[in-house]
Structures are given as C-alpha cells and as structure tokens.
Amino acid sequence: MITRREVLRGSLGGSAVAVALPFLDCFLSSSGEALAGGGPIPVRFGTWFWSMGHTPGYAVGARTDRIEFLEECRSLIPHVAKINYFGHFNSPLDGRPNHVHHTGWVATRTATAPALPGDIPAPTLDVLVADAIGNGTRFRSLDMTCTGNPRDSFTARSTHIRNAGEVSPHALYQRLFGTATEASGAAGADAATDAMLQQSVLTGIGEQRKRFERRIGASDRARLDEYFTSIRQLETQLALQRSTPVDAAACRKATDPGEGPVGLEIDVARGNHDSMTRLLTMALACNQTRVFNMAFNNALSSLRRPGTAYTHHTLTHEEAVDQQRGYQPEAFWFNCRVMEALASFITAFDGVREGPGTLLDNTLIFAHAETSYAKVHAVDNIPVMTIGSAAGRLKTGLHIAGHGDPISRVGLTVMQALGLPLERWGTGSLQTSKTITEILA
C-alpha cells in the first residue's frame, strides 16, 4: 500500500512536484478515521439563502433585548443562543427600481442596488471572503442549491461570472470524496504518476496565458483572466489535497447518498438539503473548503406540495389572508418548513465536534432572504441572521435593531470579523463604513 509520504514525494522526470492525492484513501485509516491532524482550527464562512421572507408578526418578536422567535421560527428556538438576528435594516435604492425578488438579495450580498433586472453589479460577499480565505484549501468555495436547478445560485463575481450550484448530493459526494484517481482506476505508484500528469496538463494550459493575452481585447482579456485564474485554482486544489485534516476525530468518511430525485417538491428539496449539508459539514471538518453557499429555494420560490396547484411564491400573492389568523395559511406553512430546514442546517453544524466546541462555533453563517414580506415585495427589513461565533469573534444571541440603517452594515461587519481589511463597503446609499460593534466580541 502506498504511504502518504511516498505519494507526497512523487516525482516525474526526476523533479519533485506537488502531487494530487486521492483524498480519503490517503488520509483516513481503514476504519474511516482520519489520520492525525493538528494545526489551528480555521474559521469558516458560508451563506444560507431562502426566499419569501417572513410572515410579519409571526416570525420574530419586536423586543430587542433578546431574540424572540415566534411560531414561524419555532424550530430555531433551540439554537437561539448561537444566532444573531438583524431587524429593520433597509435597502435604499437611490431611485433604482426594485426588481422583485432580485434587488433584495443583491443589495444584501453586494451592497449595491442593481440597475437592471438580473444584474449583479458587484461581487457577492462570499466571493470577497473566498478571495481572502479560500485559497488555502482544496475548494475555494462549495456552492449548493436544493432546487434541482444550478442557476438558482446567489454567489457571483458579476452578472456573467456566476458560481453555479451543485444540485445533486451524489454529484457533490463524487466531487468531494470520489477521486480522480478512482475514476482512472489507477492505484499505488500509478496514482502518484497520474496525479503528476494531471498537474502537468494544468501547468501547460496556464502557460498559454500570455499568448492569449496578446490576441484579445481588454474586455475579453478579463474573462480569459478569470479562466486562467480558475485553472491556477484547480492546480492549487490538486496540490492541496495533501493538506492535513484539522481535526482527526471530526473527519470521518461520509457515505455516498446515491442517485436520487432533485426538484422543487418540498420534501425532495429538504432531503437533498440535508444530504448535502451532511457532506458539507464533513468537507469543512476535513478542511477541504472554508467557504460555502447553500440556497434552499429559488428567488421566486417554486417550492410546492404534491398535488397542489400553487407554489410557495404564487401563494404569497394569490392566497387569501385568513381573517382570524391574520396571515396566508399555506404560504405560512411553507415559511415554517423553510425555517425548519435552516434549523436542520444549524443542527448539523453543531453536531460536529471540533476542538472544545463544535463546527458551528468555528463558523459564521450569513443567512438571509430576498424580501421581508413577499406579498408586497418589500426590500426594507429583510431578515438577516448570523449563526455561529466565528471562533469567538462574534457575540451571539443578540437581536440588533437597524433603525433603518443600510443592510450592508451586516455584511461589512461579517467581513471585518473574518479579518478582511475593509473600511467601507458598497455604493450609493448602501455604502457604509459603520461596523455593528455590538456583536463584535
């Protein structure tokens, strides 16, 4: 059996090279436990997106001395001590139109109001974070969506550079824990050679950069730059497969969820959410990535219940308000299920022991919607939560009232807590330099 040291010392033509390793086989013992890890536990960052906001008066209480989760968010109550809730932060658009179900999430994630439908005028904050902390791991970022449609993704560098979401738990498993070596059927020394050859393919492509740059115009050069940067990232990714897992006990081999249905039927979406969450927590615990994005539904939530004609989104507009209860019962039902999914996500993170705490304690999850109240497409008071303390950098359990301040204050504070050297963020009235100091530890 090939040893880890042998793999790392692999060579081609006598010169030492960085070698791509089959991930688990080299780092896990035969019982599936990780080999000794060591090193400091890194801080991770991720987003969790949901659409259709909350039912006003039924999600979060008005008091701000603590978070008071109401019926719609009842599933979050057990986690309240590890959550911060941000209410009454606004999205001033400076006269730009509110592109329904789009402007809200773009403003929250980019601190810039989109001028046109579909525009993503600036990088989303997860991309900025990944630029800062994502280069030292095998995957710069892991992006997942539970709708079955890779387009339902809320992470992008620009309108045309969007990170498509992984939709299938099986495909995610293959990407994380299946190996290129397994695919090639190589083993032992052949695996090492194979890894080196893969590296040399990428190196060869990377060397074409200058030739290309001479041939094309400035705007196209930026696009090709992105491609070559991605090639470089993949090279790094292959080389970094030799990284040591951060915590041996946490890093156990995940199981393949297998092929299954994908789509917008709510139980299917939830099942895939939970499967991908399990894989994600393992990838984080094994230091395969430090940044992630999970989208539970699409911006125009097409989640549906079997045998019913209306989707979550159409219900928010077309369902009659129950006069006694004061809300749209079916839309409310979906909102509750969405919050249950978020609770499940938190539970999974909090269930992975890591050092003296849990994976959740070493993570900062930025969870938010695209509207506050879907029925009227409001983009002020969009619900935002931070979950986890980023290894003690944030206080938790707080309800922060924004008093109409721009919602970008939350994103700025999050990025500053993660160590990004930002003094201000955003454009127009969404630009801010005001940190929410109340939550900084």
Binding site: R162, Y227, S230, T308, V321
Partner: protein, 550 residues
C-alpha cells in the same frame, strides 16, 4: 371592415412595401463589431465531440449555465467565462473523453498511425494524431509551438506510464481543456490594401459553421479557409450553399430555435405528477422534440413560410405524447407524422405541449406567463417587470375567489399598477386557457366554462385559430426571427449602426416569402456578417447593453 380584416390588409401592404423596398436594394453599410470570444455552449461542445470522435463517446457531466442575454444564450456565451468549479468540470470532462477516445477499439479508428512501440513515446505518431485532432478542436491549424508543447507532454506521459496511448491521452486531455478549444476566439488581421480589419479564414469558417451547423467547420470548410477561398464573396457563397444542403443544417436550425425559444428550460421543467400523471419524463422529452420536428419539417423539409409555424396543424406524435394529447397514435413506439383535424384547437406551435407546459406553473396554467412568452420569445417585445408596490389585497378577497383564470386576472385590469403590463400579456394567454398546466385539453376550470376570446396588438380573436392567424399576420413575428437569427449568428446583440441593415433584412425576408433557408443564406453571405471593427475600450456590460437599440 372589421379590425381583423383591416389589419390583415395592412400586413399585406406592409409585406409588399418590404418586398418592394428590398428589390434590388443594396445592403446598407454597417460598422461591424469587434471580434468575439465566445464560450462554447453545451450543445456546441457535445456536437464537436461527436463530430471529431464519434457519437459513441459519452459526454457525461454538467455544464455551468450561461446567462441568457438579449434573449439568447449565444449572446451570453460572448460574455461568459469559466469559474473554478466550471474549470474543474471541464478538466474532468476532458479526461473522460480522452480516456474513451484512446481506449480500444476507438483508438484504432481515431489514431491514424501505429506507434513504433506500444510502451514508449513516439513523437512522430503523436504529432500526427495531436496535430490533426488539434486542428479540428481549435478550428484552425495548430501552430508549431503549440504542437511541440503538446507532443512533449504526451511523450513525458508515455515515458512515465510506459504506454504510448496513455501519453496521447494526456496530450488530448490538454487540448480539450485548452482555452483554444473552449473559447471560440476570433482572429482578425489588417487588410494590407485597405487597412480595414478583416477576420482571418479560420475565423470566417468558424463563424459560418457555428451559425449554420452549431458545430465546428468540417474538413472542406477548413480547407477552404486555409486556402483563402473564404476571402471573397463567391468563395463564401459557395461554402454557404454547400452548408445549407448538408444534413447538418438541421442541427443548426434546431439549435437556433432551442436558443431563441428557450427550449433548454426543459432541463429543469417540473410538473406535479399527481395533477398531471400523463406528463412524465418521456412526454416532456417528446414534447421538446415535437416542436423541433415541427419546425424542421415546416421550415426545412417543406421550405414553407416561417409564419406557418403559428398556424400549422401538422406535427409528429409518439405514444407518450398521444396520451397527453388524447389522440390515437398509429405507431406508439416511434415518431409518426400527425395532423390535427380542421376543427381541432391545436393550431400552431404555440398550442403544442412544449410551449404550453414550459410557460406554466408546476401545478397550473398561467395566462400571464404564456402571454409574456408570446411577446418576448415570438415577437421580441419586452414586457416590463412587475412593479414592486402592487397591493395584492384585491387579489386575496376570500369572499369572491375567481373560478377561472380570466375571473382571477380581471382584478389586474382594474388595478392601475398592473393593468398596463397585464393588458399586454393576459389577452394572449387567456386564449390558451383550454390547455391546463401540462398542455392538456380541458373544457372547464373548477366547473366553469372557459372563455378564450383574446386580442393581440389590436386584432381580436375568438379561439386558438384566431390567435395563430393574428401571430402569423403580425409583422413583429418575422422581424423577431430576423433579429434573433442575426444576433445568434454573431453571438452579440444587434448594434445601433445595424438598424438599417435589419430593415433591409426584413425586406429581403419578405421578398424570399419568409423562407428560413433564404434568411440564413442572406445573413451568412452578407457583408455585415463577416465585418469586424477594432476593439473599443468598453466593458462587457456596455457591449451587451448596446444591443438594446434594436
């Protein structure tokens, strides 16, 4: 005189005017646009692999979606790039394809030489295979510098693996993951006589082949490019005639309409299986194929007037479709021609399952979505986004829930913030309300009969035949095809300086009695099609927005 008759006469007069204005008219000058760099679309990638290595090669993997821009993925491809996860997938695909191509028995067919020894490098044979294959994949002759690098890579790998074909595999993988393959990068040179920028031969060949075949140039086209035979109009015309006669033109027409009518959305189409048990995966796949077969039959096989696609009753049927349409199918296991009866409400592609199901919700129909699709996809008319400040309380009156869509949408016409846009969409979509969310016929909705009277741009109609006729009579329909086809051909939006050329093409299309092959020929042989300008200092976004001028 009825409004309908008056409109029809206007249409005829306009057509006549367009014909007259096009008679003998000289092509208006255009300025062109800078050479493009387009990311291969998934369909193009798959077509090239099949063309170079054969259909037996499996392209198993997901492609990152391209953002549809100005109504076309082809335009989005000119602004797209590859993210880190996308590169990961391309490299994995390249590896998988190379492995299949160099495995027995494929390699016996694909590698044109035998190595000196199977367990060692053979630079001569490697050059032959990688040079030939690289020329197809890069759509131009591979340079000596490029070839030397890839042959060395293959040689190093062959030595390391002690296997000649394993070495070729690495070399081929490198070609398939190269930006020269993944990006269609046009190259232009200065004409020494005029000083004008001019696309080089291989770029001209590539522009033609992706437009007409949605794939790479074949050997004859590459040779024509390399021998300078695409440098003048007669040479281009000869190749265009050959390409239009080729069976591959069907791939091109399918790709054009798949893009223009967003049929790629079938990949994520969902219908509730409880509500629509007949509309399973087989029916969905067949529905997409049905509309493409109808288009190919109408526009290529019968070379009919494009406007006939909105009025035709001729189509093709399978067993799975027969269940949804509730019609008898003579050969359930295969495709067979089918024609709806004269009194059948299925008239035109807009009444076929593909259009009806795509532009509905998972559990119900949507007159608004269907009307929007007619406006935006068939007529190229932009419907404004919904306002953000709608008061939905009027829609939520529990005391009077409308039983039919018409009743429910009635509120829109009385709510000022909604009326402007819904008036553009609902009268079209309501005409299709006898078809449920899966496109199946229904007599009533919630026990109430359905009124399908509607209106399009001033033409009132009583049924789906009337809607089809209104679409066929509307000058926006052929004009839409002209603009989209031109934009698709170039992978960019129509520029402001091309407005006169668009009018000219409209006239030529009318003169050609709205035959699609004639339109393809007009565009492919026009000066505008191959014209390029010096790249300006502009952002990708501004380049995309310029096209809204059309």
């Amino acid at each position: 005189m009825s409004r309908r008759t008056s409109r029809a006469i206007c249409g005829v007069l306009l057509g006549t005017l367009l014909v007259l204005s096009g008679c003998g008219a000289r092509e208006p000058a255009t300025k062109g646009a800078p050479p493009t760099v387009r990311l291969l679309t998934e369909a193009q990638y798959r077509n090239i692999i099949a063309d170079v290595f054969g259909k037996q090669i499996e392209v198993a993997g997901r492609f990152d979606p391209i953002v549809r821009t100005e109504g076309l993925l082809a335009v989005g491809a000119g602004l797209a790039t590859v993210t880190p996860s996308g590169v990961e997938r391309y490299v994995a695909l390249a590896r998988s394809i190379a492995k299949q191509a160099l495995a027995s028995p494929n390699r016996e067919l694909l590698v044109p030489c035998r190595p000196v020894a199977k367990d060692a490098e053979d630079p001569v044979c490697a050059r032959q295979f990688l040079g030939t294959t690289g020329r197809y994949l890069f759509r131009r002759a591979i340079t000596e510098e490029e070839l030397a690098a890839v042959v060395k890579l293959a040689g190093d790998a062959a030595r390391a693996r002690r296997d000649f074909h394993a070495g070729l595999e690495i070399g081929l993988q490198s070609l398939l993951a190269s930006p020269d393959f993944l990006f269609v990068t046009e190259n232009a040179t200065r004409d020494p006589r005029t000083g004008a920028l001019k696309l080089d031969g291989p770029s001209r060949a590539t522009r033609l082949s992706f437009f007409l075949w949605n794939s790479m140039p074949d050997e004859a086209l590459l040779q024509a490019a390399e021998q300078g035979r695409l440098d003048d109009a007669p040479g281009v015309e000869a190749q265009v005639e050959r390409m239009l006669r080729s069976p591959r033109i069907e791939h091109g027409v399918r790709a054009l309409f798949t893009d223009m009518w967003a049929l790629d959305d079938f990949a994520t189409l969902e219908k509730d299986p409880t509500l629509f048990p007949a509309f399973g995966l087989a029916a969905a796949n067949d529905a997409r194929e049905q509309v493409l077969r109808t288009l190919v039959d109408t526009l290529l096989v019968r070379d009919a007037d494009y406007r006939e696609v909105f009025t035709t009753r001729k189509t093709f049927m399978t067993g799975a479709l027969g269940i949804v349409y509730r019609v008898p199918v003579s050969m359930p296991g295969e495709w067979s021609p089918f024609e709806f009866e004269r009194d059948d409400p299925r008239v035109g592609v807009q009444t076929q399952l593909a259009f009806l199901a795509l532009h509905s919700h998972a559990g119900k129909s949507s007159p608004t979505l269907r009307g929007k699709a007619v406006r935006e996809l068939l007529l190229c008319q932009r419907v404004p986004d919904p306002p953000s400040t709608v008061n939905f309380d009027r829609f939520n009156d529990p005391a009077s829930p409308g039983k039919t869509a018409r009743a429910r949408l009635q509120v829109h016409s009385t709510e000022p913030s909604c009326a402007g846009c819904h008036r553009l969409m609902d009268p079209i979509g309501l005409a299709l309300e006898n078809f449920d969310g899966a496109g199946q016929w229904r007599d009533d909705e919630n026990g109430e009969s359905i009124d399908i009277a509607g209106e399009l741009n001033g033409t009132r109609f009583a049924d789906t035949a009337g809607l089809g006729a209104a679409l066929a009579d509307d000058p926006a329909a052929p004009a839409c095809l002209v603009r989209r086809t031109y934009s698709y051909a170039l992978g960019r939006a129509v520029q402001r300086n091309e407005r006169k050329f668009m009018t000219y093409l409209d006239a030529q299309f009318a003169r050609d009695r709205y035959r699609l092959p004639a339109l393809l020929r007009r565009i492919a042989t026009s000066e505008a099609f191959l014209k390029v300008s010096t790249p300006a200092l502009q952002t990708a976004g501004s380049a995309a927005r310029e096209g809204s001028a059309s």
